[in-house]
């Protein structure tokens, strides 16, 4: 590294690196930036084609599930990848959203359009209640608290039979409807799910490229530094936790009105853990991670339809391989390859 000549203007600094980067350090490269809004729109427009090219309605129902999973996995990605907290209980928030919306529909005859915001709000509130004590704990213990919380929720889903239908599930949930037009077939549900998932992804994008988004990432990477610039770390952590839970609640509400049914098994701790796996495989902290994770989460069980016992094995192996070989996940693959090739060219 050459010594630049000292300048006379008082604010410049001689740019001498007093320390050469350690071996194996990546060469100077741009940090991954969230994509532009146009890129998001383009990708979603491609997805819009699905009902037209789908071979049958079942395929469309898979696409519907994938869109719901995108919202769910994006909510956890926001928390894990940008907020730096690992929730082992996100399926619980998913379930809370589903049951709130479903029960309001079954017991009070409330329209799904009212159930959706109700689910988001109540899930957010639950996250606030559990988050205030839990976020004072260090990462690992926060995760275990979310796990415990999920387990308690499942016990409640199972035991409050009068309300939730217990282990047999909640039946008779009404679908979304536009007046008399009910969105009760796969093809009819697709546009709504497409729209909601687009709006959610757009909101996340807006958040990430904003002051609040930067504050979030600052607290996740370096709390001391965040404190020093005036960011209230605790409030920020609570905020992203509540927001993430609310998003999961939205996914839950969509789920219950699309399937017109919910059962406690879907929202187990094991599924929460699987969601963490999907975030990691998709690429934690990468904008497109959730889309890739949702694709895998939805497609793999279909591909392994006759070998469903191997499904779990595959996910477990993928998780291990990703963490060891490709910690930035699939979404980080292009950047990782670029660096690998760039590095090779330099030497």
């Amino acid at each position: 590294m050459a010594l630049a000549p000292a300048k006379s203007t008082p604010l410049t600094l001689v740019a001498v690196d007093t320390r050469s980067p350690p071996a194996g350090r990546r060469p100077a490269a741009s940090a991954p930036r969230p994509p532009s809004r146009w890129r998001l729109l383009w990708v979603w427009l491609v997805l819009l084609i699905v009902p037209f090219v789908a071979p049958n309605a079942y395929f469309v129902s898979l696409a519907n599930m994938m869109l719901i999973n995108v919202i769910l996995i994006a909510s956890l990605n926001l928390l894990m990848g940008y907020g730096g907290q690992i929730s082992l209980g996100h399926a619980g928030f998913y379930g809370l959203g589903a049951y709130v919306s479903g029960v309001l529909s079954v017991k009070l005859g409330l329209s799904a359009w009212a159930g959706l915001p109700a689910a988001a709000l109540l899930t957010g509130l639950a996250a606030l209640v559990i988050g205030i004590p839990a976020l004072r704990l260090r990462g690992l213990y926060l995760s275990m608290a979310t796990l415990g919380w999920n387990a308690i929720l499942v016990v409640m889903f199972n035991r409050l039979i009068d309300l939730t239908g217990g282990p047999n599930g909640l039946l008779g949930v009404k679908p979304f409807a536009l007046g008399a037009f009910k969105l009760d077939t796969d093809v009819r549900q697709f546009p709504l799910l497409w729209l909601v998932s687009l709006l959610v992804m757009l909101a996340v994008l807006n958040l990430l490229s904003s002051r609040i988004g930067r504050a979030l990432r600052a607290v996740a990477t370096n709390e001391l530094g965040a404190d020093a610039v005036g960011i209230d770390s605790f409030r920020t952590k609570l905020f992203v936790f509540v927001l993430s839970a609310g998003m999961a609640g939205i996914a839950g509400s969509l789920y219950v009105h699309v399937n017109q049914y919910a059962s406690p098994e879907t929202f187990s701790v094991s599924n929460s853990i699987l969601l963490v796996v999907m975030v990691a495989i998709g690429g934690s902290g990468f904008y497109w991670g959730p889309l890739l994770g949702a694709l895998i989460f939805t497609a793999v069980p279909q591909l392994l339809l006759n070998y469903e016992d191997f499904e779990l094995m595959l996910f477990g192996l993928a998780m291990i391989v990703v963490l060891i070989v490709l910690p930035s996940g699939l979404a980080g693959l292009p950047a990782a390859l670029r660096l690998r090739l760039g590095g090779a060219r330099q030497s």
Partner: protein, 291 residues
């Protein structure tokens, strides 16, 4: 009335010993890596299921359990070498995450190879129960308590007296300082995984005659063992014993006096209570847990 209390006491100490073993496994790995090992519960399941399989082959329960524990310890060693050791940045977070993958793989392997049917085998003694002064006790429970106590004693001596044990404690206390004085930190991590697998397998092998063993119990064992570890103070080896026994007794008395439906919920409630009220548990250090 007194007899039922005594019976609950015995039952509580019995399950408590199992939880203590599993908690020990968690604590040992936690001490040397700072991470939560999600495969711990699966090793317990392996202990039970492989013992059942070998019992079919050897017809000698003691031999089957012994060989099983050795096999699962080797599995623990292999797990560490294949999954933990290759990590470029073995931070507690990364190790925890990779152990999630490991736990999932271990569980599916068990399911694929050993099947989904629950399995069991008779207890170690000929007589299944012992009655003493009106109190009926499962002989297997006595075996559990005895073997657990023996294992804890050996572990205690190992950590206090042997060079390897002290090296492990040193590396757990301060990785860099230990490395400077010549302790091979990677080896201590390997050792801690082996001990954890051994403890887990032992727990599984000795509890199976009472509860049967099936591939999907891993999560529950792991979770309860972790709750016990937190209760006693995460990272504290004597804490594992205190926490395990406390949880076992809480479950035994709780399910009798409150409701047996919610027995499993007791462990969750205990965990949350500990985390929110006294994260350091009985014997742990507060600075470990709070931000």
């Amino acid at each position: 009335m007194v007899t039922s209390i005594l019976q609950l006491l015995v039952a509580g100490i019995g399950t408590g010993s199992i939880y203590a073993l599993i908690a020990l496994g968690f604590n040992v790995v936690f001490k040397s890596t700072g991470a939560m090992n999600f495969a711990q519960g699966e090793w317990v399941v392996m202990g039970g299921m492989i013992s059942a399989m070998l019992f079919g082959a050897f017809s000698n329960i003691g031999l089957a359990c012994l060989v099983t524990v050795l096999i699962v310890t080797i599995v623990g060693i292999l797990s560490e070498r294949l999954v933990i050791w290759p990590l470029r940045r073995p931070t507690p977070l990364m190790i925890t995450l990779v152990s999630i993958g490991l736990g999932i793989c271990t569980r599916s392997l068990v399911m694929l190879v050993l099947g989904k049917q629950p399995v069991g085998y008779p207890g170690f003694s000929q007589a299944a129960t012992l009655t003493w002064g009106g109190v009926s006790v499962q002989t297997q429970t006595l075996w559990i308590v005895g073997l657990t106590a023996a294992f804890l004693l050996v572990t205690h001596l190992f950590f206090e007296r042997s060079i390897m044990g002290k090296a492990l404690r040193a590396a757990a206390a301060d990785r860099e300082a230990a490395a400077i004085v010549g302790v091979r930190v990677e080896t201590t991590v390997l050792l801690s995984f082996s001990i954890a697998a051994f403890a887990g397998a032992l727990a599984g092998a000795i509890i199976t005659p009472l509860t049967l063993s099936s591939y999907d119990q891993g999560a529950m064992f792991g979770f309860k063992g972790f709750s016990a570890a937190m209760l006693g103070g995460i990272g504290s080896l004597p804490g594992a014993v205190v926490g395990g026994l406390a949880l076992g007794l809480l479950e035994a008395f709780g399910s009798f006096y409150i409701s047996s439906d919610f027995k499993d919920a007791i462990a969750f409630a205990v965990l949350l209570l500990i985390l929110f009220v006294r994260p350091s548990g009985f014997l742990g250090r507060a600075d470990v847990v709070k931000v």
